[in-house]
Amino acid sequence: MSAVGEGIEQRLAAAEPNPQRQTARGAHVVRGDFRLIADMIESGSRVLDVGCSDGALLEYLAREHDIVGRGMELSQAGVNASVSRGLSVVQGNADTDLVDYPDGAFDYVVLSQTLQATHDPRKVMEQLVRIGRHAIVSFPNFGYWRVRLRLLFAGRMPVTPSLPDHWFETQNIHLCTILDFVELCQRCGIDIERALILGDGEEAREINNLWKANWLGRNGMFLLQRSRRPEPG
């Protein structure tokens, strides 16, 4: 077990589970991600969804959690679709436009399945915890066993449900594993408040053992905040 792993596991073990997160959702059919993100967000908070696509998550959060939502989306079609839903969404790029937001402007900043497509994930991560009191980041785990086996035995870049595109057409330029991500958080002075994986089943699991999670997690989802401790090194 590395020092990286011990750090997060201790912190996670110390964290009390929030009873609000156990609340059953309504009968709406939502993407697994949405429900998990919603479980991390307190009702009535201000939320920025970076890479909000057509605004489906924001609409879900506004309806179910009474949040005040804002979105940022690169594609004009996505912005139009979001604005047409009555959502407040700006056309923008996570790499360049997050700097425009003031410190602490939101309670939560969500970056769902987008980090791996940014040019400078480290800067983006720093922006997320600057703008939001908390950040929620989910990403496809390149340490997932199917990904590893595909590379190991087929000798080919992995194509999986989470990584559906071939290497020459994918938007994903900065793929990482759960261990890599945890290390980046440490480098950036970011605390992990909660960590989940989505594996082969539909149910998400809290991460207890990082090495195991790095094998079994198809996707990782983390609740983060800027460290209150002085930055390491």
Partner: protein, 386 residues
Amino acid sequence: MAHTEALKLDSGLHLGPITVAYQCYGTLNADKSNAILVCHALTLDQFVAETHPMTGRPGWWSYMVGPGLPLDTERYCIICANVLGSCMGTTGPRDVNPETGAPWALDFPMVTVGDMVRVQKLLIDHLGIDQLFAVVGGSMGGMQVLEWAAKYPERVFAAIPIATAAHHTAQNIAFHEVGRQAIMADPDWAGGRYLEQGTVPRRGLAVARMTAHVTYLSESALHQKFGRKLQAGNSLSFGFDADFQVESYLRYQGSSFVDRFDANSYLYITRAMDYFDLAADYGGVLANAFLGSKVRYCVVSFTSDWLFPTSEAKTIVHALNAAAADVSFVEIRSDKGHDSFLLREFEFFETLHGFLNGCAEIKGLPVAHLRLPDPCAPDHTDDRVT
């Protein structure tokens, strides 16, 4: 509407009485909560969605305003007033100065975008409207939208500044100065006293318009429309006649403009745009103009607009974000330049319709599907310039 008391202008001078010419489309509901104020651009007017009384052309935003359109006259009451300093019925330099009995000409006090909005607010007060459901406008109209939202936020539910900026740039001022110098260099302008002299500074005003017109288009729009195509005869004249179709087009634009617009109004309104700098009213920090604002903003720009480029829209969005305002922003892909906002850009229609529908739902007004105009109808691009 006639406002009898003198109004204090940004220049410190007083002007009054003031007449405001305006048009309404659709019906104001019982609690007067469905009014949308359309703010027009430099040389446009209040005839938004009806045949223009002077030119006989369709209204300048008839694609946007009407039953089932984004500015839906079945649900909203659309109001547009001719701006202060213009020449289509609202008080301007062509009107008679009550003190001298002669046209104001250059004795007319300098007006600003702030003054234009101040006068519009008198109209909205006069109509008994507590809060406008939306204020919308492109170009100089967008400047008025920003001014409205900044100065009277409690009177505006939603603001839609389109193809605009929070200040006029050096390049924009430069183009306006070329136009003004062309007018003032025309001997028929006569120091502004052409009405009394019985002349019209046709050449100067036409040149001003030709210059401005080019800034409203894009290189690709001009290329697609004209390329290097020649006028009739298909050969060069080896002289200075309008050999190229683009020259003939510009000359036509210039001369037809003279028939509908007043040269002194052109001087005054271009100056008002040049003076516009919203941040300057707030200690140089644009975000301060929007602090604590509950207004819902939808900022729109167009990719090929080089007069009010997307970077200017982003400056506005940046400030709105910094003020934690409720903002949407869309850059519409269009190759038609600044004038895109007057043309049939369906993505633009959908954005505006979606945004207004969302706002209507929040405000408890009826919502409806967009009924787009017939795609076969011709573009009246010739007459649709700001």
